[in-house]
Structures are given as C-alpha cells and as structure tokens.
C-alpha cells in the first residue's frame, strides 16, 4: 500500500498509525499460539523461559513432555485421543448426511415454510452452548444415553449440522439446476443423478461443512463436560481438567499437536474454498 507522492503529511501520519494498529492486532492474534511451541520443548518443569532457552542452549530443550504424553504412567491422553477421534468422525459423518439432505431440500424453490425451518435448523449455533448442554443432558439422561459414546456423538451432531447446512446451502445457491434436469431427461434416476452429478459438484461445500463439524466436535468441551463419564473423556475435557488443576508442560505438548492438526485443517479448508470458488466461477 504505497502512498501517492502528493499525500498530505497528516494523512501520511494517519496511514502509518493505521498500519501500526493493524500490525499490533495481527501480532495479538497470532503470537499467543507461538508461545506454546518452545515451551513444550522445555527441559524443565516450569512454564517460563529458562535462561538456557533464552541463550538457545540445546540442553535446555528436550522431548521429555512428548514422551510423557505418549508413555507417561496412568496417562489419560491415549484414551482421550481415541475417544475424541471416534466421536468427532462419527459426529461428522452424521452431520454431513443429515445436513446435506436438509440443504438439498432447503434450496429447492418448492420448499414450504423455508424461513422458520432454516431458523430451527441453525438454532444450535445461536443458542448459547451452556443452554444446549443443559437441554441435551436432560434428554440423554432420560433416554439413558448419558455417559455413552452414542450420546456424545448425537450431541455433537446437533451442534455440527448447522455448519453443514449453511455451507452446503451456500454452495447450492450457485448451482445450475439444469444439469440435474439434463441428467433426468437422459433417463437417470434421482439417486444416480445425485451421486454422479450433484454430489461431485457440491463436494467442496460438503467437505468444508464437514470440517467445521469435525472441528466443532473435536474442540467441544461444554456439552461433553455434562455428558461424559470416566470412559468418554476427550482431549478437550482432559485439557480442561489439566488447566484447572495445574498447567503442566505435558498439556503444552498436547496443545502443540493440536495446533499442527488445526494448521492441516486450515490448509485443507482454504484449498477447498478456492477450488469451490473457481468451480462457481467467482472472480477474485
């Protein structure tokens, strides 16, 4: 953003002030994440940068806490990671199936009561999590699904479907319906048309909705805290317990792994978004 040479001084000052603010905000957003990396390789137990670390002494760094995360005695992380992945994967599959079907129906111009139905479908996004947690807990306790994987998967499907509905509806808004009509006129049945024509075209939207649902489930802690028993503990629940008791470097090792995971998800989501925009012919 170079300024034209005729810019007056006060606007010049204002411009640098504005760039300064922006730099600060970007730093504020991203810097906290990078504090975790070096500290997770700390050789000592304290969560401050030791003198050795400040001098980049190799002895001050170690993989101690990563070993503790994987091999530590009575360590909860293995079970938590397994549960987190199982719950998130099934919740995502459920959200994708229900959400995509609903989005297909919603984007049909024949859909009756569109407004109120859409509002109902995305309500789990608007209602504060704590209230969703209380309501879902009452339901799961009544039907005997509290403290089961199934119960938590259902709960996360409730929270995840709105994202799929929104992203797929958005993808379908640029969808050319004449291609499905062409398929039917050539003798394809509706299921075949969906699998061969519609699905490949809306796939980027479906997957990015699925990513949202996956992250929502993988990161969710409020509802799980109400629902989980000892056997259903997840990574966020373990982190929550750990952070409340004592901030240990092992948690930072886990946090580093989670940041790596979220970076992977971010890259996937971005690539998908660009592909989808290219397919929809949106110029950038």
């Amino acid at each position: 953003m170079a300024l034209p040479s005729y810019t007056e001084t006060r606007y010049r000052i204002w411009h640098y002030f504005y760039i300064g603010i922006c730099t600060f905000v970007f730093f504020f957003l991203i810097a906290p994440l990078f504090v975790i990396f070096p500290l997770s390789f700390n050789a000592e137990e304290f969560l401050v940068f030791s003198e050795g670390m400040k001098n980049l002494d190799p002895d001050a760094f170690s993989l101690r806490w990563y070993k503790d995360m994987i091999y530590g005695t009575k360590n909860p992380w293995g079970l938590a990671a397994k549960n987190s992945f199982i719950i998130a994967i099934f919740a995502t599959i459920g959200s994708i199936i229900l959400g995509t079907l609903a989005a297909l129906g919603l984007s049909s111009r024949h859909m009756p009561y569109k407004g109120i139905i859409m509002a109902t479908l995305i309500s789990p996004m608007i209602v504060p999590l704590i209230i969703s947690g209380v309501a879902i807990f009452f339901f799961m306790a009544k039907v005997g699904l509290a403290a089961t994987h199934t119960g938590i998967i259902f709960a996360h499907m409730i929270l995840g479907t709105p994202f799929v509905v929104i992203t797929v509806t958005a993808t379908l808004s640029g969808f050319d319906h004449s291609v499905t009509r062409a398929a039917s006129s050539l003798g394809s049945n509706p299921v075949n048309t969906f699998m061969k024509i519609t699905l490949p075209l809306i796939l980027p939207g479906v997957i990015s909705g699925g990513l949202f649902a996956f992250v929502t489930s993988f990161d969710e802690v409020v509802v799980v805290l109400f629902l989980a028993g000892l056997d259903n503990t997840t990574i966020p629940v373990q982190m929550w317990t750990g952070l409340r008791e004592q901030l240990s470097p092992t948690i930072l090792a886990v946090a580093t792994c989670l940041i790596v995971l979220s970076t992977l998800i971010l890259v996937t989501a971005e690539l998908l978004r660009r592909r989808s925009e290219r397919l929809r012919g949106i110029q950038r």
Binding site: Y11, Y18, C22, V25, F26, L29, I30, P32, L33, V35, I36, L47, V48, F49, L101, A102, L104, G105, S108, H110, M111, P112, I117, A119, L121, P124, I126, P128, L129, I130, I131, S132, V134, A135, F138, F139, A155, I158, T161, I166, F212, F218, D219, V221, V222, L225, F226, M239, L243, R244, L247, I251, L252, A255, L258, S262, L266, A269, R273, R284
Partner: protein
C-alpha cells in the same frame, strides 16, 4: 368463436392446470422429505428438551404430591385463623406416611425455604412419631402445639398453603435476587446477598466490552485484508484463520502462560520499565485476563463477516467520493462506513452472542471476578444439583439472546451471516 376458453390438456387428457398443481405438490413433499430427517432429529433431541427445561423450571409439584390430604382439607381454609383439627389431622397423617417412607427430609428442606425454622419443628414432630408418643385418638391439634409452640403460629400453615399450586415462579425470582414474601408480594433479598444480579450485570458488561474491543481491533484489519493485493492478504488471512481453527483450550492455555506473573507480558512490562520487577501486576484471575483472552479468541468471528462484506465494496466508490471533493475521512465516513454496516452487524451479533454464553475461558483465566452467568448455571447443574434453578437461569439467558437476535434481524437481517 366459442365463448368458453378451451382448457389446455396434457397428453393424458388431464387439464394442465391440475397436472401442474399435482406436480408442484409432489415437489413440495419431496423437498420436505429431504429436510424431515434433520428436522425430526433436532426437534426430538434439542427443541423438545429446551421446552422441557421450561416445565422443569416452574415445576413445584413435590409438596403437592407429598401432602395430598392436607391440601384437600385446606381448600376451604381462609388462612386467617389457626387451621381446624381436621387440617391438623390430615397433615399429621400425610407426614406420618412420609416419615415411614423416609422422605420427610425433602419436605422439611422445601418448606424451610418457604418459612425459616420449618425444618426444626418438623424434626420435632418426626421424633415424636418415631417414639410413638402421639395418641391418634385424641386431638392432634392439641398434641402438635404441645410438641412445638410454632404449630400454633398461623404463618407456618400459610407457608404450607403457599406451596399448593403445582407451578411456581420462585426460581425465576431467585435468579433476579427476588422472592415471594409471606403475603405473596415480590420482595428483594438483602443487599449483601444479591449475587445473581451482579452476575447478570457482569456478563452483560463483559459481553458488551468484548464486542466493542473486537470491533475496534477487527475493523482496521478487515479493511486492510480487503484492500491489500491478494498475495499479501492471503498470507495475513492465515493470522486470522489459524486461531479460528485452533482449539479454544489451546488458546486459553497460551494466555495463561503469557499472563502469569512470571509470564512474557509481565517480562515485557518490566523490560520497558513500566513496572518494577518485584511489583509485577496480577493480570490473570481477574477481569483483565478475561477481557484479553476473550477478545483474542472471538476476534476472528468479527473479522470474517466484516471482511466478506468489505470485499464486495468497490474501491472506485471511495475514489469517487474523494474526487467529488471529500477529504479521505469524509469519503470514508459517508461512503465506505455505511456500506460495511451489514458486516458490522453480523460480526457484533456473533461476538456478542458467543461472549454472553461464555464459560470455559472465564472459568480458567477469570478467577472469582471472571465468573459469568454460564458458570453459575454449570455450578447448579453439577454441584448443587438444583436443576430447576439452572433451567430457569438458562431460559432467562436464552430469552436475552433471542431478544438480541430479534433486534438484529429487524435492523440488519440474518441472511448476512457468512462463514469465512
């Protein structure tokens, strides 16, 4: 020429109009059937349970079910004089059954909330029943008043009568630090015990300020992202998106490290000489920690809607404004800013609604003064097990959120919400 217009027929001889209607109806059903599975799933597992929270929050049938005979005989009692022998007797009989089933304790607790001291006079009665000291053939009224003089006090009997209706608003009043006094009027609790009102105000205050901070920080960077050339803005966008996709607990943990007394922020303050080394300020476990951490965590929810709106604003509009004689500030204020209002609305709504129901971050970095209404709800759900009170507070919070949502919908329209 025929006077009647010829009806157009399809190839099977059905009038076209009818055939069209039929096919439209079929399409309608088809569309609805696609939505139905999710709709049913949500109604059963989500919408219904929320509605059930309401019945749970006003349900007060416990005493009604425990003292059926008493309430029946009390129907004609005006509540002015001491009840008759009949009421005393039916109360005694009800209580005896409860004592045999060992459920009398709950009744004592519930009635004690209605009138202080009830529990102790009921315990006295319980002991007498256990030792078989009550002669059922003579007057129960005389015997009870001998057991404890409070049985002669009409106030206690009125307290029982007050619990007669199967529904109560008590939990809602309690959530606002109010209660029904003995005459049935709404009264305030003592000033030093008004904890809930403080929590409501604090929740509102934190949500409002976090929204304002997010707006003040989010607007400039959204503007920069929208105006920079693509190759730079894509890179900077990562700074917004990476925190967005990163676990909430990871981000809270990093703030706990940064803000602790020996943390980097304090190190920095010491380094630039703002504070002395042995006088490091406490930045965590108070409101400062809550504000800082929540602002950083919710900032992407402000930037993304703002960015998607600003992206659509053509730069030539600003140039036009300037060429028509406006200074850059006037052009910005009169041309650019009004066009970004839908984005501001969407961002503020998202941040405000997320902030008002926040629970995890305030509980970890907020300490005692960072406790919000959500923490209180969780506390009653998990610790005191007063689920009806938790439901009542949850619904009060939900009402607040829905009001905000409704106002937003009136002002801006919900269709403007975009994700990324």
């Amino acid at each position: 020429m025929s006077s009647e217009t010829q009806k157009i027929l399809t190839t099977d001889g059905v009038p076209l109009e009818e055939s069209l209607k039929k096919s439209e109806k079929r399409n309608k059903i088809k569309a609805f059937l696609l939505v139905a599975p999710l709709l049913l799933f949500l109604i059963i597992t989500y919408i219904f349970p929320i509605a059930e929270m309401f019945t749970r929050s006003i349900d007060d049938r416990m005493v009604t079910n425990m003292l059926p005979k008493t309430f029946k005989s009390m129907e004609n009692w005006d509540g002015k004089e001491l009840p008759s022998e009949e009421i005393f007797r039916s109360f005694y009989e009800d209580y005896k059954i409860l004592a045999e089933k060992k459920e009398h304790g709950k009744l004592g607790q519930r009635l004690n909330k209605e009138k202080n001291g009830f529990n102790s006079i009921l315990k006295r009665l319980f002991r007498n029943i256990k030792r078989n000291k009550i002669d059922e053939n003579s007057s129960i009224k005389v015997q009870l008043t001998k057991i404890h003089r409070h049985y002669e006090n009409v106030d206690y009997w009125r307290a029982i009568k007050r619990t007669a209706p199967p529904y109560t608003m008590n939990k809602y009043l309690k959530g606002m630090d109010m209660f029904l006094d003995e005459d049935g009027n709404i009264a305030q609790v003592d000033e030093d015990r008004r904890i809930h009102r403080i929590l409501w105000l604090r929740t509102l205050e934190i949500a409002l300020f976090v929204t304002i901070f997010c707006f003040l920080m989010g607007y400039p960077i959204a503007h920069l992202l929208a105006t920079l050339p693509m190759k730079y803005s894509n890179l900077l966008m990562i700074c917004v998106l990476l925190p967005f996709w990163t676990s909430l607990l990871v981000r809270t943990a990093s703030w706990m490290i940064l803000l602790q007394q020996q943390g980097l922020v304090n190190d920095f303050f010491v380094m630039i000489g703002l504070v002395s080394d042995n006088n490091r300020p406490e930045m965590m476990y108070n409101k400062v920690g809550t504000y800082v951490a929540m602002t950083q965590i919710l900032l992407p929810f402000m930037v993304l809607p703002l960015y998607s709106v600003m992206k659509t604003i053509s730069p030539s509009l600003m140039r036009a404004g300037k060429s028509l004689g406006g200074t850059p500030f006037v052009a910005f204020w009169k041309v650019y800013f009004p066009l970004t209002i839908p984005g501001i609305g969407a961002g503020c709504l998202l941040v405000f609604i997320l902030a008002i129901g926040y629970y995890i971050t305030p509980a970890l970095v907020g300490g005692a003064s960072g406790t919000l209404i959500s923490n209180q709800i969780a506390y009653h759900m998990k610790t005191t097990l007063d689920w009806s009170f938790a439901s009542a507070m949850g619904l009060m919070l939900l009402t607040g959120v829905l009001v905000v949502y409704w106002i937003y919908n009136k002002l801006v329209g919900v269709d403007n919400i975009k994700l990324g």
